[in-house]
Symmetry: C2
Subunit: 336 residues, 2 copies
C-alpha cells in the first residue's frame, strides 16, 4: 500500500537496512555485487527515498529555493531558465517561490522554506540587508542582481549599461534625462540611478530621478504624467514593463515618441520588440546570471562554512538594444 522503505528492500534483498542505506549513499562501503543486488531489488519494489527522513538527520534536502520578487515580470524568465538549466545537471530540485513584490511575503516564504532547502538564490530581493544576512546565517545563499558585502552575488553590468544608455541619448543631443525609478527597496533601482547620475555628470547633462514606481505597465500612467511635468526630452524607465506603460500613456496624451520624447527601458523583455514604437532597452546575459548563481550556490552547499571573506561577485555583460523609441532631442518642448 504505502511506499516501500529501506526495511522492505532490506528484507527482500536479505541484508540489513544499514546496508541498503550505504548502497545508496556510500557506494564503496559495500561490495559491488551486493550493491547491484540491492539496487535491483529496490528498483523492482519501486523504492524511493523519503526526503523527510533523510533531511531529518542529514539536514540536506537536495532542493534549492529560488525566490523571485515578481514571477509575472518577464525579466525573470531568463534568470529562471538559466537557473533551471544548471540545476538540471545536478541532483537537486529547484523550487520557485514568488514574493509578488511584497517584502513581507518574501520574508515569510524564505523563513518557511529555510529548513526545507539546502540553499537559496534570491533574484532581485526586496528585503532589507539585515533580513538577508539573517537568512544567510541559516543557509547558503547567493544573490542575483543585488550586492551585499560578504555574500556571493551575480549581477548584470548595469553600471556600464547605464553609461551606454546615457551616451546613446547624449549622442542624440538630449540635454537632460529623467530616471523613472523602481521600488524604493530595489537594489537595482539604487544602482541604476547612481550610475545614470554619474554618467550624466561626466558628460555634463542634467539627471533627475522621479518617484518610486512599482515596475508594472499600469504604473506607467503615473510615471509618464510625472515625466511630462519636467521639461526633459528623454526618460529612462526602471524596466520594460514600466517603459511600455509610459509609451502607452504618452500615446494617450498625444506626445509622440521619439519625436517629442525618447524612452528607454531595461531587461529587453520579449514585448519590448512588439510595442509601438519598439523599445530601446538594455539587455543582458540574464540566463547566464541564473546559471552562475546556481553554480555558486551548489559550490557552497558542498563545502560548508567557508567564512564569507572573499565571496565572489560576478558581473556579467549587458548590451543596449537600440530600437525606435529613442531619437534626436526636440527643441523647445515646453508645452504639455
Amino acid at each position: 500500500m504505502s511506499a516501500p522503505t529501506i526495511y522492505d528492500v532490506a528484507r527482500e534483498a536479505g541484508v540489513a537496512a544499514s546496508t541498503v542505506s550505504r548502497a545508496f549513499n556510500n557506494p564503496n562501503r559495500v561490495r559491488d555485487s551486493t550493491r547491484d543486488h540491492i539496487l535491483s531489488v529496490a528498483g523492482k519494489l519501486g523504492y524511493q527515498h523519503n526526503p523527510h527522513a533523510r533531511a531529518l538527520l542529514s539536514g540536506r534536502t537536495h532542493a534549492i529555493g529560488m525566490v523571485v520578487s515578481d514571477i509575472t515580470n518577464p525579466h525573470y524568465f531568463e534568470l529562471i531558465r538559466g537557473a533551471e538549466q544548471r540545476v538540471k545537471a545536478s541532483k537537486y530540485t529547484l523550487v520557485l517561490v514568488n514574493a509578488g513584490e511584497s517584502p513581507r511575503i518574501e520574508y515569510d516564504h524564505i523563513r518557511r522554506l529555510a529548513q526545507s532547502v539546502d540553499g537559496f538564490v534570491l533574484a532581485a530581493s526586496r528585503l532589507p540587508d539585515e533580513n538577508i544576512l539573517e537568512f544567510a546565517g541559516m543557509r547558503p545563499l547567493v544573490l542575483m542582481n543585488r550586492e551585499l558585502p560578504g555574500l556571493p552575488s551575480v549581477i548584470v553590468d548595469y553600471a556600464e549599461g547605464c553609461r551606454r544608455i546615457v551616451d546613446h541619448l547624449a549622442s542624440f543631443g538630449h540635454q537632460s534625462v529623467v530616471y523613472l525609478a523602481g521600488p524604493r527597496n530595489s537594489w537595482t533601482a539604487q544602482q541604476r540611478w547612481r550610475s545614470i547620475r554619474q554618467a550624466c555628470e561626466k558628460i555634463g547633462i542634467e539627471a533627475e530621478r522621479i518617484g518610486y514606481f512599482i515596475p508594472t505597465v499600469p504604473s506607467g500612467v503615473a510615471a509618464a504624467d510625472a515625466a511630462l511635468h519636467t521639461d526633459t526630452t528623454a526618460v529612462i524607465a526602471h524596466n520594460d514593463l514600466l517603459a511600455i506603460g509610459v509609451l502607452r500613456r504618452l500615446a494617450e496624451r498625444g506626445v509622440s515618441v521619439p519625436a517629442d520624447m525618447s524612452v528607454v527601458g531595461f531587461d529587453n523583455i520579449f514585448a519590448a520588440d512588439l510595442c509601438t514604437p519598439a523599445l530601446t532597452t538594455l539587455g543582458g546575459a540574464h540566463a547566464e546570471v541564473g546559471g552562475a548563481a546556481v553554480e555558486l550556490l551548489l559550490d557552497r552547499t558542498r563545502v560548508i562554512g567557508a567564512p564569507s571573506d572573499a565571496e565572489p561577485h560576478l558581473i556579467l555583460p549587458s548590451w543596449l538594444h537600440v530600437r525606435a523609441s529613442t531619437g534626436p532631442a526636440s527643441r523647445g518642448n515646453q508645452s504639455h
Copy 2:
C-alpha cells in the same frame, strides 16, 4: 548553535516534550496556563517547527505543489496569481515547478515532489492519463485546463469560446479556418480542435488542423509558413505566443493582416494588445481557475479519500477580445 527543538523548550519550561508538542497541536489537551508558559518559552528561544520531523510522522507538509508546463508562458501568470491568492489565505505554501514543456521533466519533478507536498495542482499537464492517475493515487490532485474522468478539474470554457471565435470569423465572411495546433499531448489542443471543427461543421465552413507546434513565438515561423500553403483566409493559433510569431512571419512575407489573413489567438496575454496589429484573442477567467483549483485541492487534503465518483468539474467563462488582427475575408488569395 543549531535550532532549538521541543526538547530544549521542554527542559526550559520544566515539562515533557510531549506536552510541548500538544501545546502546539492539540491546545485543549493542556491547561491554558501551562500552554501559555510553553508558548512564551518557545517564543523566547525562537523555536520553530522542524518541517521534516513533522512530515516524517504525520505525512503532512503544509505545502502544495503547482506544476506548470511552461512558466515562461504568460498565460500561466493569472493562473499562478489566482492560486497564490487563494493559498495565502490558508496555512499552506505554494511551491511552483516548471516542466518546460517536457513531459519527462514534468514526470520526474512530480515524482520527486510527491512526498514533499500535501497535494498538487497541475496546470495544463502534458502527461499521459496513466501518469496522472498514478500520481492521483499518491496525493490529492486537481487539474487545471485538462479533464480526466474521476479527477477534479477546473477549466476555461474553450468549447463555447471556440464557437465564438468561429462565429466571429464566419461573420466576416471567412469560408475556412486553419487551426495551428498546440503540442500533441496537450489536452487543450485536442479540445480546441474538436470544438473548432464542430463549430465549423455546424455553420458549414471548412476546418483544417495543421501540425503540432510548441506554442512559442519562434514556432510561429513554421506555423505561418504551413498556413500559407493552404488557401485559408483565417488562422486560429493555439495560443497568443504562437499567434504573435505567426503575425511576425506573415509581416516578413508581406502578407498583410487582417486584409489577406485573419489571425486569432488564445489566452489574451499582455503582449496581445501590444503587437501590431493587436491580436484578437480568447481570454478567460484565468485567475479564478487558479483560485478554484487550489480551493478544491485544499478541500481534498482535509477530508481524505472520498472516492472519486462525482468529482467536481468546474467550467469558468471565456470571452473574445476582438482587436485588429481579424477582419473581412479577402477574395481569391490564391497567390502566395
